[in-house]
């Protein structure tokens, strides 16, 4: 790489990482106001972890992300297999809906679900939030698994069925194990999408069930509280861990 190119690449990475680095550094800064360094402290982490509201919101977030990722992955995997294997009426409509669901702006989806829940008379809270998260994760799982299915050797399924396996059995013993890396990737993607979401959640949960991003949103809107830096740092760590994990999965894939 020439000097000019490396400088450019470096500058772009600086742009992407500098604000994150600053927040991480600030989370250990003893200063209560401003960003001038006044010594190292873990006080903000202690303060955040000592707050029952924040801890509950964080646990709620993790719980919803895990449930939504698992259910969306299950439903999305079945969906991808159907779309791949069967030709049925409405297949094009289903594909179109999934693609539209992937592109639809969050705000449009958020208010659409709000209108639906209000029209159905469902109280906003855990269940409505879970439904919303499954819905926006679904198309990403379908796309991820579908892409992998296209690379699958179709003769393997035929062989299983020739040997007397039922559709369910062939699915369980042949297709699902071969799909494992894509299913895992779909789960990780869903989990992250769920943890990251602010806009759709904003409209689909109520005061009875608060999640961390919404809590942070209301905290940073009123002003800067130093414990937000600690929470933000914790939220930065999640993608690091997950990307390392997904790297591990894709390495596994290469080996087999």
């Amino acid at each position: 790489m020439s000097l000019l190119k490396s400088t450019y690449v470096l500058l772009v990475y600086c742009f992407l990482y500098l604000p994150i680095a600053v927040v991480v550094a600030q989370s250990f800064n003893a200063a209560k106001y401003g960003t001038r360094w006044q010594g190292f402290t873990l006080a903000w982490y202690e303060k955040a972890l000592a707050s029952p509201i924040l801890v509950e919101a964080a646990l709620n977030s993790l719980w919803v992300a895990m449930l939504a990722a698992t259910l969306a992955t299950g439903l999305g995997t079945l969906g991808a297999i159907c779309l791949f294997r069967y030709r049925f009426r409405g297949r094009e409509i289903m594909r179109g809906l999934l693609l539209a669901l992937m592109m639809i702006p969050d705000i449009v989806m958020g208010i659409a679900l709000l209108v639906l829940f209000v029209a159905l008379g469902w109280a906003l809270g855990f269940w409505t939030l879970l439904i919303a998260h499954i819905t926006f994760c679904l198309p990403f799982v379908v796309v991820t698994v579908y892409a992998r299915l296209r690379d699958l050797n179709p003769h393997l399924v035929e062989a299983a069925m020739d040997l007397g396996a039922s559709e369910w059995r062939a699915l369980r013993a042949v297709v699902i194990p071969l799909m494992a890396p894509a299913i895992a990737a779909g789960w990780l993607l869903s989990f992250t999408l769920s943890i990251d979401d602010v806009i759709v959640s904003f409209f689909s949960t109520g005061p009875t069930f608060e999640i961390l991003p919404l809590r942070i949103y209301s905290m940073v809107r009123v002003g800067v509280k130093p414990e937000v830096n600690a929470l933000a740092t914790l939220l930065f760590i999640i993608p690091f861990v997950f990307i390392t994990l997904s790297q591990f999965f894709s390495k596994e894939e290469e080996r087999t």
Partner: protein
């Protein structure tokens, strides 16, 4: 074999039912709401009217939408200008280095964008890092006002959405055949001609895909404008949110949302036909 409870029927009913109930129906309800009259008590009264759409073309609101569109366009252009050369350089690296550099793009891509907008605010604030550094260096005597204006919103959007531009661009550039570039040069094309006649048309689908992934969220991400913008830097997302939460005019908010959805549909059709025109098949699903 073909009984009612077969795998096929069960799975299709589940997925189809879910999509119908939680994707199709909600949007149909929004469309319906946009044609109803506003009601203080029950959100909407069942009385057909075009009032909300009439209100949308009121100059006051048109100005809000135009302003928001300009912010999103500025963010899209910004991402394209920064992301295009970046993705091009990235795609020309050795595989192991490419993997490493791509990983560094994936991390911000997967990181909570609210938290990233907040991080940008920490950087730009009056008592933020940039000001402190400049004061310390003696380059300025009083803090610069970088926050709470349109510029900060555009910077925030570019910051949050840049990975969404880089990844589709990278995907097309990785597939770009180096031999085509050599051929162009061999046939006497200048660097500019090679870029304009070979590289640009071949990477156009990536540019369009990236632009969509930046432009649509750029209209929608209300928290970026909340955290970084001033009173006047309003996105369509802020507008719709306000209509639903503060102004409590659900039909009006729904009408704005329906128009937004129509715009998305138009852009997707445009993308699809441009792909067909270039003879490239979509292979997503």
């Amino acid at each position: 074999m073909r009984n009612v409870f077969s795998f096929r029927n069960l799975a299709l009913t589940l997925l189809g039912g879910w999509l119908a109930l939680f994707a199709l129906l909600p949007n149909a309800l929004v469309l319906l709401t946009s044609f109803l009259r506003r009601d203080e008590r029950d959100f909407v009264a069942f009385e057909w009217t075009l009032e909300s759409y009439r209100l949308l073309i009121d100059p006051v609101y048109v100005q809000v939408f135009v302003h928001s569109t300009l912010l999103a366009v500025a963010a899209t252009v910004g991402c394209l200008l920064i992301g295009y050369p970046f993705a091009f350089i990235l795609a020309r690296q050795t595989p192991s280095r490419r993997r490493m550099l791509l990983l560094l793009i994936m991390v911000p891509f997967w990181t909570n964008s609210l938290v990233r907008s907040y991080a940008m605010r920490t950087l730009l604030a009056a008592k933020g890092v940039i000001n402190e550094v400049l004061l310390w260096l003696g380059l300025i005597d009083k803090p610069l006002r970088m926050l709470y204006n349109d510029g900060a919103v555009v910077v925030g959007l570019v910051y949050v959405l840049l990975p969404f531009m880089v990844l589709p661009l990278y995907a097309v550039m990785e597939k770009l055949d180096g031999r085509l570039l050599e051929a162009a040069v061999d046939l006497g094309a200048s660097r500019l001609q090679t870029f304009r006649r070979v590289v640009l048309p071949l990477t156009l689908p990536g540019m369009v895909a990236g632009a969509l992934l930046v432009f649509l969220p750029g209209l929608s991400m209300f928290y970026v404008a909340d955290l970084l913008g001033g009173a006047k830097s309003m996105l369509v997302g802020n507008f719709i949110k306000n209509q639903f939460l503060s102004a409590r005019n659900w039909p009006f908010g729904s009408a704005a949302s329906a128009v937004f959805m129509g715009l998305m549909g138009l852009l997707l059709v445009a993308q699809w036909s441009s792909r067909r025109w270039l003879g490239q098949e979509s292979n997503e699903l």
